[in-house]
């Protein structure tokens, strides 16, 4: 009965590779009269040179600010006058242009997507403007203690590896970016043989495929070489940083280097995440203990799989709590991490977590946009499109021993990074001076 559910939501993926190397993934989904298209270029902030950190994101932000055919305003007016949306976004691994339109506007949607993807002109005045705006946004983000804590946490965990930086770069590296940098980056990585195009919605493949072939026919491929980096190294000693900021709460990040998405223990770790710091409501150990039982926080969680990607992600335990709770909160987090690393989970915990992950999987495929993102994800991490059917098996075959072995291997309750941001002195004492950790 339960496995039938996903098969009812399963969909047929039409895979094509155009002559220029563009991967095209199409799914017909006539449930509502809309089209969701996603073009993902397989590059991102992980390839930014250190002194030009922020380059990939700046490219993503300028894609829809003018092309060889249209000005920034013409692009906005074209898409908005049909009530559609075009978005460009960058991360460490990908730059994505996504378009959502009503079925009747499919031609416009695909044309605009192709235009901003393949022919951005990076107008000089927009380059200046976008740099200034990014600098202001970085300054604004610094007002949020949780953001500041997250940045500091990544710096300590990744050290020399590119992921130590915020994806948008630093004020000094953003200031350095030139129009030529953006053009060079675009020329280097934005090629059909480095791009996945996923389109899901109310269309027929027999009409969509020729349209895509026509629109992208002139896009020329060329071979790519990616910069190589040494993999990040997991710390073997404790790293601690306290950052003073007047605030109501302390924002605490505790953790260390995590795993890659391709790690064979990924599914065992997903179960561990569900038991330790995720799951439904406050069922996981950390929220149950620190929020439900002790009342220390509104927000507290832990996860190692959430940030797994091409590069290893982070094992993160987070809590936002009043300053007087710091010792209790830290002890609570570390105790739970230690217990997870040293003691096997119970059969009931594992069973419940398996039921949760397999049962809630269906919620990841409700919308055309979600399915389009899944197609790209499956392609990048080589999951296979039958992942939808196979995932429950991957989860169900995990044993208590698998979880115990993975937890012991990938969680470290001793050699962790701790970052605390809030009303705390750089030595860890409270700003008001009354108590010390």
């Amino acid at each position: 009965m339960k496995t039938d559910l996903m098969s009812r939501r399963s969909f047929q993926v039409h895979e094509h590779s155009l002559d220029n190397g563009l991967r095209v993934l199409l799914v017909e989904n006539p449930s509502i009269p809309t089209i969701s298209a996603n073009a993902s270029v397989l590059t991102g902030a992980r390839y930014d040179p250190e002194d030009k950190a922020g380059l990939a994101l700046m490219v993503s932000r300028l894609l829809d600010e003018g092309t060889d055919n249209r000005t920034s305003l013409e692009i906005a007016e074209a898409i908005e006058s049909v009530g559609g949306a075009i978005e460009t976004d960058g991360s460490f691994e990908r730059i994505v242009v996504s378009v959502g339109v009503l079925k009747k506007d499919v031609e416009l949607g695909i044309d605009l997507l192709a235009d901003v993807l393949t022919r951005p002109s990076f107008p000089e005045d927009y380059v200046v403007k976008e740099k200034e705006r990014t600098l202001s946004e970085i300054a604004s983000a610094k007002d949020r203690p949780q953001v500041v804590a997250g940045w500091a946490f990544n710096e300590l965990i990744y050290q020399q590896h590119p992921l130590h930086r915020p994806a948008h770069g630093y004020p000094e590296t953003v200031s350095r970016l030139t129009r030529e940098d953006l053009q060079t980056f675009h020329k280097r990585y934005f090629v059909p043989n480095n791009t996945i195009l996923s389109i899901v919605g109310d269309f027929r493949v027999s009409e969509m495929l020729p349209r895509v072939e026509r629109v992208f026919a002139d896009w020329a491929p060329h071979p790519l070489a990616f910069p190589q980096y040494r993999p990040p190294v997991r710390q073997t000693s404790r790293r601690t940083k306290f950052i003073t900021m007047p605030a109501q709460q302390l924002n605490i990040y505790l953790g260390h280097l995590g795993v890659e998405r391709a790690n064979p223990d990924y599914y065992a770790l997903q179960l561990l995440d569900t038991i330790l710091g995720g799951g439904a409501g406050f069922t996981a150990r950390i929220p149950q203990k620190l929020r439900d039982e002790l009342g220390l926080a509104y927000t507290t969680f832990a996860s190692i799989t959430m940030t797994a990607g091409i590069d290893p992600g982070r094992f993160v335990a987070f809590i936002g709590t009043s300053p007087e709770n710091m010792t209790l909160a830290l002890d609570g987090l570390i105790n739970e991490i230690r217990r997870a690393a040293n003691e096997p989970v119970t059969a009931e915990e594992l069973h419940d977590a398996q039921e949760y992950l397999t049962g809630s999987f269906v919620f990841a495929f409700e919308t055309s946009g979600q399915i389009a993102r899944f197609l790209t994800h499956a392609e990048v991490y080589k999951l296979g499109f039958d992942y939808v059917e196979k995932y429950p098996e991957y989860i169900k075959r995990v044993t208590i021993e698998d979880v115990a072995r993975a937890a012991k291997k990938y969680l470290d309750p001793e050699n962790y990074t701790l970052v605390v941001v809030g009303p705390v002195n750089p030595n860890g004492s409270f700003v008001n001076g009354t108590s010390k950790n």
Binding site: M1, L5, R9, S31, I32, D64, L73, I75, A76, E77, I79, E80, S81, G83, A85, V101, L102, E132, R133, L135, S136, E137, S140, K142, D143, V148, S237, R239, T240, F242, I243, T244, M245, P246, Q248, Q249, G279, A280, G281, T283, D292, E293, G295, Y298, T299, S322, D352, A353, E355, Y356, L357, G359, S360, F361, V362, F363, E366, T367, G369, P426
Partner: protein
């Protein structure tokens, strides 16, 4: 121009409304595209119903509804959600409180059992109440650590002098600290009845079977006394109100709030379009002027907020670089005055109508989104609002936009709150990393 208004547009044609003898209203909509059922229960109580000294009660109650009944002990609601592979959450607003479960359609019935039980059987165990109070206080503090959380709280409190919309939904800290389990239970008894509730079910089920089940589970709950009416009306504002909030940031932010009519008022449709024309998308008025040309803000937004009682039209912006907040404010007023006197172009109006219409379709893909729309509109006004909505939007003219802009978005009707530096901001460029 004409709107699509095709059969694809979301309507309530396929929504069935049933009223049980005890007064519980049930809205059901079958949707078989995904094997999912969303179950939502709504109570017509929110911060709007709270008295002076007792703010935050509706929100605190929402937290307590997860803390157990005799049948579902503490933690069990979440545990059942986990075991059944579902999701649950809840939210409190000015006008209502809502709870939902998302489950696969072969195991969602537990949601009905839980909702029926916690409608009346919530235990207010004192230790649990005190532990949860700490959680609520942490939630309140999280919001105060956000510049917008703080500024909006202060702006709302100034824009309304009497009406309870002036209070933060989470409550004022001192009220939350003072709250007691016994008083909380009295509040619960007053507002949590079948005749003050709405059950919304959307998804992969058979309506007749489900209604039988709902009847069986809920009909035994007796109806309660009609909750007292909220009698406060906000008096007309007679001149601009200004306030400054000092905070630890050097980035100035501004929140301008204009009194505006309630949802479904004849003027509300033109005000919604005005919000879209002003700030929705890169082609919008304020974006083009302030982000593109003047480059004075990192963002600017304008929005009419739907609510049961007369509401606010919000304009918000964050200044950037060396631009003064006074300049930002002046540009906003200048653009509003242009719309009131010169008007909007046919293209702007047509674009805004298409944006609203497309959003109406594009944002209703998930069963949860549909449940929220149905529940919210039934709470605030009634389902007819949904079916009339696109027609009312389509009928608005450029003259209507200018007229409401001039009548509502004017100096005497606004509260202007700015968040300015208190001089304590730090540049966190320090070198205090410890390694041991």
């Amino acid at each position: 121009m004409s709107l699509l208004a095709t059969s694809s547009t979301f309507t309530t044609e396929d929504v069935r409304k049933t009223v049980l003898d005890n007064g519980l209203v049930v809205l059901t909509k079958e949707l078989h595209t995904s094997p999912i059922v969303t179950s939502m229960i709504w109570y017509k109580v929110g911060s709007r119903n709270e008295e002076i000294g007792h703010t935050g009660k509706s929100h605190f109650l929402e937290h307590m509804l997860f803390k157990g009944t005799d049948r579902f002990k503490k933690g069990e609601i979440d545990l059942l959600t986990l075991k059944n592979g579902g999701g649950n959450n809840a939210f409190t607003a000015h006008d209502f409180t809502a709870y939902y479960f998302n489950f696969a359609s072969d195991r969602w019935h537990v949601a009905l059992d839980i909702e029926a039980d916690r409608m009346v059987n919530c235990t207010f165990e004192s230790d649990e109440f005190e532990a949860e109070k700490k959680v609520v206080i942490e939630e309140l503090k999280t919001s105060l650590d956000s510049p917008w959380g703080l500024l909006i709280q202060e702006a709302d409190a100034a824009a309304y002098k009497i009406h309870p919309y002036r209070n933060p939904i989470v409550g004022w800290l001192q009220d939350v600290e003072r709250a007691s389990a016994a008083e909380q239970q009295v509040y619960y008894r007053k507002y949590y009845h079948p005749n003050n509730a709405l059950l919304v079910l959307v998804g992969d089920f058979n309506t007749d079977t489900v209604l039988e089940r709902v009847e069986r589970i809920f009909s035994g709950i007796p109806s309660g006394p009609t909750p007292p009416a909220m009698l406060m009306n906000e008096p007309q504002q007679r001149g601009e109100r200004r306030l400054v909030v000092r905070w630890r940031s050097k980035i100035p932010r501004i929140a301008i709030a204009y009194h505006a009519p309630r949802i479904a008022d004849g003027d509300s449709y033109a005000l919604q379009l005005l919000g879209v024309i002003l700030s929705e998308g890169k082609a919008s008025r304020l974006y083009q002027r302030m982000v593109e040309r003047e480059q004075s803000v990192t963002f600017v937004s304008a929005e009419y907020g739907e609510s049961m009682d007369p509401t606010l039209f919000h304009v918000r912006a964050e200044a950037r670089g060396n631009h003064s907040i006074e300049g930002v404010e002046a540009s906003i007023y200048d653009e509003l005055s242009r719309i009131a006197t010169i008007g909007v172009t046919p293209q702007e109006l047509a674009r805004a109508k298409h944006q609203i219409e497309a959003h109406f379709i594009l944002s209703r893909e998930r069963t949860l989104d549909q449940s929220i729309l149905l529940g919210q509109i039934e709470m605030l006004d009634g389902l007819n609002y949904i079916d009339d909505y696109l027609g009312r939007i389509a009928a608005i003219t450029a003259a209507d936009i200018s007229e409401v802009c001039g009548r509502y978005l004017k100096e005497d009707n606004r509260t202007v709150a700015t968040l300015l530096s208190d001089g304590t901001e730090t540049d966190s460029s320090e070198d205090d990393e410890l390694e041991d």
